[in-house]
């Protein structure tokens, strides 16, 4: 077994093992069908952020997936979405991909208050 094959096997059996740190998410390409894949999701900060038109709850997460075209994501796009925790998240950017894994940076913004940036926040 080559090192490349061994790494791919480890990704599938160890890193993306749902009995350990991985979970099943839904990946929906901007053009194409949704599919269930395994991923390790690192949930980031949740905070209220000031936008030009008010306040929104901003959530960010890193989603580690395989680059396998069938069991992972081989060609991400910024208009793709992933679903976990019962919520849809937008793929904002990604990095990696050379060692058989890809990290998707996903974001979600939920309205708290529509107003104006100049108004006092957290009223």
């Amino acid at each position: 077994m080559s090192l490349r094959t061994q790494i791919a096997d480890d990704i599938r059996k160890v890193i993306l093992n749902a009995d350990d740190a991985a979970e099943t998410i839904t990946y929906t390409p901007a053009s194409g069908s949704a599919k269930s894949i395994k991923a390790v999701v690192l949930r980031g900060d949740v905070r209220d952020e000031a936008a030009d038109d008010g306040i929104q709850k901003a959530q960010r997460a890193d989603v580690h997936v395989s680059t396998d075209a069938t069991t992972g994501v081989s060609a991400p796009s910024i208009r793709d979405t992933v679903t976990f925790d019962g919520l849809a998240w937008a793929v904002d950017s990604w990095r990696g991909g050379d060692a058989g894994m890809l990290t998707l940076h996903v974001v979600r913004f939920d309205l708290i208050e529509k107003s104006d940036r100049g108004h006092r926040l957290r009223r």
Binding site: R79, T81, L111
Partner: protein
Amino acid sequence: MAVTPSGPLSLPLDNLRTLLANCQSFQEWVGADDAAEALAFISLVAKDTNERPLALAMQAPGRGWSAQQNAGGAANWFSSKGTLLLLLEDDVATEMAEPDAELTFTNLVGDIISDIMELAGAGVYLNVTSIAIKDGPSRSFFDEKESNGDYYQVVLEIGWAG
């Protein structure tokens, strides 16, 4: 709204609401039969839901109200002026591409602006002295669509005097 707007700071905001509610194009946009019904679609200060169509009238922080005394011989009087913000938002029809999506929205906003120009200063309506675009028109960013929807937004600066 439990508090009734009154006085020189709050009344212009309420008057803008009344002016907008009386615009025929606004009534058609929100599906209201008359001005009284259209009033329900216009919020003041802030709104905490994604319901659209949305019209939100706000004070313009930092560019707001001022008053000046005028000398009138035997009698002096104050005149005041200020700037209000009017945020308008509408959903984009499913799968509508550009330029149709933006033109649909700017056609709508343009009709409302025309109606405001026609009514302003007449009778009890707010004496609008200027209208300018502060922000937009802009479509919601891709990373917001999953949570907040696909919509167009514009923020108008409404100058008034009286």
